[in-house]
């Protein structure tokens, strides 16, 4: 598979659930865009099926979720399951938001590839996503 050098990776971003706090996801989206990623932001109240369909259509490397309402565990499980159901086992689901420290291992346990709790420096999120994409694309 040829890896495009023009785009660092393709990232689908979504706000699952009912939470409307979109400051974080927009800031992360702008930072990823400025770092050379192609970012597709799906907006609010996105269901897992919608995000996975978008990931298929856009040939995305990563689905990024932002949850500030405390329901990160339930929605992450749902998104990971939906990815598997659609055969997108290699698409990484990453999660950010108001996530208390004790929930980070739990999220990784239900299949999140990376977790960026509140307070994570912006550059760490960008570096993290870059690492996830490179791994998927087999870039050393």
């Amino acid at each position: 598979m040829t890896v495009s050098t023009a785009v660092r990776g393709r990232v689908v971003l979504a706000k699952p659930g009912l939470d409307g706090h979109d400051r974080g996801i927009k800031v992360v989206g702008m930072a990823l865009r400025d770092a050379g990623f192609e970012v597709i932001y799906l907006g609010l109240h996105v269901r897992a099926e919608e995000a996975v369909a978008a990931a298929v259509a856009e040939d995305a490397d990563v689905i990024g979720l932002s949850v500030l309402s405390g329901v990160h565990l339930a929605v992450t499980e749902e998104y990971v399951a939906e990815c598997r159901r659609a055969g997108l086992d290699d698409v990484a689901v990453v999660v950010g938001g108001t996530i208390p420290p004790q929930d980070v291992p739990r999220l990784l346990g239900v299949g999140a590839r990376a977790v960026y709790p509140v307070g994570t420096p912006l550059e760490d999120v960008v570096d993290g996503v870059r690492g996830v994409v490179d791994e998927r694309r087999g870039v050393a």
């Binding site: 659930g17 009912l18 939470d19 409307g20 706090h21 400051r23 405390g70 307070g119 420096p121 912006l122």
Partner: protein
């Protein structure tokens, strides 16, 4: 900051010091006396000597009974007013039994399905002696109907129901994002409430026009004031188009601002806002009543400025924010819990937030004199500058076709997102210091004990609703919903029909669905 230029958070360039020459002549007229036009110095003549601000901690979680217990606790600790946080299903018109929202029930606020839940929230708390703020918007008319019927069942008179309904749908489209219906029917519901409250509820504010959420979403203090005034203009125009006189509704309009960290800018911006609203009321809308131009506001300390790192530092941040709100002349204040960057606050952190207010009120001495910052060369120059820049923003919005039009195009939403990104880049580049985040970092900071979510609360809520539905007279509920529908399809005021629905045992989800059916649902255009 580049070179030697020093700026406020909203980018106003600052002199090293200020003197007589910094203040434009005519200050006396721009200030007036406290409690008198143009209200720069405060909404009331005696301010905190007459009455301290309301200490109004925002609270609510789990079931109605859980929230009732938290309120009893807060009141027993000397809190003077209540502020209800609702869960997202309640804010977005879903019942707790709706399978689409299972994990969200009772999570960020209390779940309210029927009027019985509202009665439980206020069980043992006499509504006619309370002042209650409701952070509710898309479903605001339904929640108000539930509250008024709960009051009625306690034997309270409508004239004694005091408090504030947020009911500001424009800022939902702008920043907070709990909208359901498209803008036009949403605005009609806001107007219904304001009309009803202005006529029937003399101690109740039917709307709180808020800049808080735009600010928390990332805009700066100047944009916060400009956008809030632009939206107050848009509401006033909408209410007048409906045939309401400005002087009928304007005295009951209330406002809501954030209090963030640039201390003097935060204290100055609300002084500028008061002066601006007075000018808008008199010049733009020809107000005849003096109280139509008197801006009263609730100040919310800032969640966005809290840090997950070294959370106890947030106590200090909140203290400064509360102090800025007091010096700015707030009518009521909420102080954040220090743990709110991580979870909903524990009882201990909420108590400390309340004590912060009490110490400022009773020990610091700052409440002894009205508007103590007045006459400071710096504060007056800054107040003038913020006002001038906010007027420029209003002019830009007027030229762009008005606030509602620009909102539909996603323009102010972009301003906010860009401003938020700018802020984060400043943090990343160390241009902006955040203690414990990009400077004075500790790797081994101890995490505080966090609030533990009761996983059973949602299930108890669902069981209670099922029981109530099994016991109710379904025909009565159906008839009430049908009566509501005919009001929705016409142009009468929805409030009486909603109160009838509440008395007939209709659920919030059923009522919201009826409205969805008639009005349709709004889907946000991606402006990004």
């Amino acid at each position: 900051m580049s070179g030697s230029t020093v700026r406020t958070d909203s980018g106003i360039e600052l002199e090293p010091y200020y003197d007589e020459g910094s203040v434009t002549p005519g200050l006396g007229e721009r200030l007036g006396r406290p409690g008198h036009p143009p209200f720069t110095r405060g909404a009331y003549e005696s301010m905190y000597r007459g009455q301290l601000w309301s200490m109004r901690q925002y609270a609510g979680y789990g079931s109605a009974a859980d929230t009732n217990a938290r309120y009893r606790y807060l009141l027993s600790q000397g809190q003077t007013a209540l502020s209800v946080a609702f869960d997202l299903p309640t804010q977005l018109g879903y019942d707790s039994t709706d399978e689409r929202v299972t994990s969200e029930v009772g999570r960020v606020g209390v779940a309210i399905d029927t009027v019985e839940d509202m009665e439980l929230v206020f069980d043992g708390l006499p509504i006619d002696q309370l002042s209650v703020n409701f952070t509710i918007n898309a479903t605001a008319p339904i929640i108000l109907a539930f509250y008024l019927v709960a009051a009625e069942r306690q034997g309270a008179a409508l004239a004694d129901v005091a408090g504030t309904l947020q009911n500001d749908i424009l800022k939902e489209f702008l920043a907070r994002k709990t909208f359901i219906y498209p803008p036009a029917p949403s605005l009609r519901l806001v107007a219904d409430v304001v009309e009803f409250a202005s006529a029937e509820l003399p101690r109740f504010n039917g709307i709180s026009i808020t800049g808080y959420h735009a600010r928390e979403a990332g805009c700066n203090a100047v944009q916060e004031i400009g956008l809030t005034m632009a939206s107050a203009i848009a509401y006033s125009e909408a209410f007048r188009q409906r045939g309401l006189e400005f002087d009928f509704f304007a005295p009951r309009l209330s406002f809501h601002f954030a209090s963030q960290l640039d201390f003097f800018e935060e204290a100055s911006k609300v002084r500028a806002a008061r002066r601006m609203w007075h000018r808008i009321a008199t010049e733009r809308f020809g107000a005849k009543k003096e109280t139509s131009g008197r801006l009263r506001f609730f100040s919310g300390c800032s969640g966005a400025t809290l840090t997950a790192q070294q959370p106890l530092n947030n106590v200090v941040r909140s203290t400064l924010q509360c102090l800025a709100a007091v010096l700015g002349g707030a009518q009521s204040i909420h102080v954040m819990g220090y743990d709110e960057a991580l979870e909903i606050p524990t009882e201990e952190s909420v108590r400390l937030a309340l004590r912060t207010q009490q110490i400022i009120a009773h020990e610091s001495g700052v409440a002894k004199v009205v508007d103590p910052l007045a006459g400071s060369y710096f504060v007056e120059a800054l107040t003038d500058e913020i006002e001038e820049r906010a007027w420029a923003l209003i002019e830009e919005i007027d030229k762009g076709g008005g606030y509602v039009e620009m909102l539909a195009e996603g323009v102010p939403q972009r301003w906010i997102a860009e401003s938020a990104y700018e802020y984060e880049r400043e943090v990343a580049s160390l241009e902006r210091v955040r203690v414990g985040v990009n400077k004075y970092v500790e790797d081994d900071a101890v995490a505080p004990p966090l609030f533990e979510v009761d996983q059973e609360a949602a299930e108890r809520q669902r069981a209670a609703l099922r029981e109530r539905l099994a016991a109710r007279d379904d025909q009565l509920a159906k008839d009430a919903l049908a009566a509501l529908r005919s009001v929705l399809e016409g142009d009468g005021n929805v409030m009486p029909a909603l109160m009838h629905c509440a008395r007939s045992g209709c659920t919030l989800g059923e009522i919201a669905d009826e409205m969805r059916d008639v009005f349709g649902e709004h889907r946000e255009p991606q402006s990004w």
